[in-house]
């Protein structure tokens, strides 16, 4: 694996349930060459209308560039909100 993993981020995206939500998000992350280490999905309501998707991402982008990626992620129509934190190296 040659992917550089300089920066690690924990990202939580609140999304509306719908066909292809995860695909839309992973496509956007790939466009910016952000690598997905892992993700999991958490239903937020009994009707399963909203979910939180938790990603662990690694990226060679600096903070400004990564913030742009997160804004682009948030612009996706089914995405309600994105929060992220940078992790200390090695975590």
């Amino acid at each position: 694996m040659t992917h550089k993993t300089d920066n690690h981020y924990k990202v939580t995206a609140k999304v509306r349930n719908g066909l292809g939500v995860i695909a839309r998000m992973t496509i956007m992350l790939r466009k910016f060459n952000v690598n997905i280490q892992s993700f999991d999905v958490e239903a937020l309501d009994d009707e399963k209308r909203f979910y939180n998707i938790h990603f662990v991402l690694d990226s060679t982008k600096d903070n400004r560039e990564f913030e742009v990626v997160m804004k682009k992620l948030e612009r996706l129509i089914p995405v309600v909100k994105v929060d992220f934190t940078k992790q200390p190296n090695g975590q």
Binding site: K14, R16, G20, I27, K31, E74, R75, I77
Partner: protein, 570 residues
């Protein structure tokens, strides 16, 4: 609920009509045949145009949307019909154009079986749409169509794709009006920009000695021309345009500073390279605009006004980001800010105008007088139509010269595949524009390469008897490719030579009146006769393959290092 249930295909047509759709560009086939069994029954409400290829239909819908401000509609069947739309969809995405693209899909039962004409078109379009939907039942059609049109033409516009399984057309449901749109998280407009942020622009303008505005497509989309003029005059500030921003500012205005970028005006690029404050409005700092990014940023402060907050700081950090619709921000700025004067800056700009020439196509004379000069032909069309026409360019040299030398007087008049740079755009886009603005004069200015990428739309144009003029810049080459090969690849002309058919005869075969112009006298006469002719026309201009577009800012080169003639690069 007294009415009987209706077929999905009928519900869909009613839903389009409810959105005010008047023109559809589509091609029937396989799984959309149930739709087409209804669509001709709605001819009294919506005109259906049959392009000869779905890509042509997509570009036409895109052109229609650009000149009307309304949402275009294009339809393709499953499989190849859908994949043929991909380039047009991407084009609409790159240039923020509101188009709803409809594709057919095999029945839900067959999906995943690699059925005949099955493609995962939803998956293919995901990276290049603002949003997309899949519909497999009639009951979901009305709400989906409502949302699609809302998303396409709100905030920063863009294409929305709806993939309909065949089941959607053949199942039945009651036609129920759409409910209120509920899309949590979708905020077309950003939060209102605080007044104190707009006031920061005053400090920046006050401190600046060499400011400029780069006005892009967002100004056009916001219909903010009047507010931009007021802002310009209040601050006596030069207004440059991006390629897609052309026609957002009156080009006979003394404050207009031309087109910026790789093939922009020399004076404009000098202004940008030397400015200490750049205010970008509705533009996204594309690499063709900035040239070398490091040099572009050096000793310059940046203000970015944009409706899409995800564009802020994307390519580099800016000093002041003002989120909002260009019209709204400019209106508030015009109220809040005091005026400014920059006399020494204008003195410098006037010196550059004298040094380099400004808006003057004779600065780079043609090499071979036996050919016609493309910029001069564009200038002739501009003067003949008094800058009042809608002009759709293709991609390449014709595109750059159309942008530089057609003097646009009206907004929403310049059509160009700016972001995607898709050859083949010009002809069908002009066709769509004519359907959208039937009372305006429309020209397609295209190269012989791009023209042949969608030449089949001559059939659509002829069939509809569109009063549309086509100017082919015929040099038997992929002209911009040849320019790059000449200047950047040591003259290695690799696979950029075309053997053309006789375009006038091709036109005549379609019943389109054609002219061939090899002299300026012939050109002038052909332009006049084409304008006077009621119906489609085509003129083939015999132009120089070695007339290069200058200035040229090679990729990743500072705007200040623009090349003004071939010797600068060889």
């Amino acid at each position: 609920m007294s009415e009987e249930k209706k077929l999905g295909s009928e519900i869909f047509c009613e839903a389009l009509a409810a959105e005010g759709v008047e023109v559809i560009f589509g091609i029937p086939g396989g799984v959309v045949l149930p739709l087409y069994d209804q669509i001709n029954k709605f001819g009294h409400k919506m005109k259906h145009i049959l392009p000869r290829n779905e890509q042509g239909g997509g570009f036409a819908a895109d052109g229609y949307a650009r000149v009307t401000g309304r949402t275009g509609v294009a339809i393709g069947t499953s499989g190849p019909g859908a994949t043929n739309l991909l380039t047009a969809i991407t084009n609409s995405m790159m240039d923020s154009i509101p188009v709803v693209y409809i594709t057919g899909q095999v029945t839900e039962e067959l999906m995943g079986t690699d059925a005949f004409q099955e493609t995962d078109i939803l998956g293919m379009t995901m990276p290049v749409v603002k949003h997309s939907y899949f519909v497999s039942h009639a009951k979901d059609i009305v709400q989906t169509v409502k949302e699609a049109f809302y998303i396409a033409n709100s905030g920063r516009p863009g294409p929305v794709h709806i993939d309909f399984a065949k089941d959607a057309w053949v199942t039945k449901a009651h036609y129920l009006p759409a409910t209120a749109i509920d899309l949590p998280g979708y905020n077309p407009l950003p939060d209102e920009c605080p007044e104190e942020e707009i006031l920061k622009l005053e400090d920046l303008l006050h401190e600046s000695e060499r400011p400029m505005v780069i006005a892009g497509h967002g100004v056009e989309l916001a219909n903010a021309r009047e507010q931009l003029v007021e802002f310009a005059e209040k601050h006596n500030i030069p207004i440059a345009n991006t390629l897609l921003g052309l026609s957002t500012f009156p080009q006979d205005h003394e404050l207009w500073a031309g087109m910026i970028g790789m093939h922009g005006d020399a004076v404009t690029n000098c202004i940008a390279h030397n400015a200490d404050l750049i205010i970008s409005i509705g533009s996204r700092f594309d690499d063709r605009i900035t040239g070398n990014l490091e040099a572009f940023q050096k000793d310059t402060k940046f203000v970015h006004i944009d409706i899409d907050v995800s564009e802020f700081h994307k390519n580099f950090p800016v000093d002041l980001a003002l989120p909002g619709d260009a019209k709204e921000i400019l209106m508030r700025a015009n109220t809040l800010l005091k005026g400014n004067e920059y006399p020494s800056w204008w003195k410098q700009i006037d010196e550059w105008k004298s040094q380099y020439g400004f808006l003057d196509f004779t600065v780079n004379p043609i090499n071979d007088e036996s050919f016609l000069s493309q910029p001069r032909i564009v200038d002739m069309i501009s003067k003949a139509s008094d800058g009042e026409a809608i002009v759709a360019a293709d991609v390449g040299r014709n595109q750059m010269w159309t942008g530089r030398f057609y003097r646009f007087k009206k907004p929403n008049s310049h059509l160009s595949s700016g972001g995607l740079g898709s050859m083949g755009y010009g002809l069908p886009a002009a066709m769509g524009a004519k359907f959208g603005q039937p009372d305006r004069e429309v020209w397609a200015i295209v190269g012989d390469g791009g023209f042949q990428m969608n030449i089949q739309e001559l059939g659509t144009i002829a069939e509809s008897k569109l009063d549309l003029n086509i100017a082919i810049m015929e040099d038997s080459h992929l002209g911009m490719v040849r320019q790059w090969q000449n200047l950047l690849f040591k003259g290695n002309i690799s696979h950029s030579v075309l053997k053309n058919p006789d375009f006038v005869k091709v036109a005549e075969a379609y019943g389109i009146k054609g002219w061939r112009a090899k002299t300026y006298e012939e050109a002038e006469q052909a332009i006049a006769e084409a304008r006077a002719h009621k119906g489609p026309t085509l003129i083939s201009f015999h132009v120089d393959p070695d007339e290069h577009v200058f200035p040229m800012v090679p990729p990743n080169t500072p705007l200040g290092d623009q090349s003004l003639k071939a010797e600068d690069l060889l």
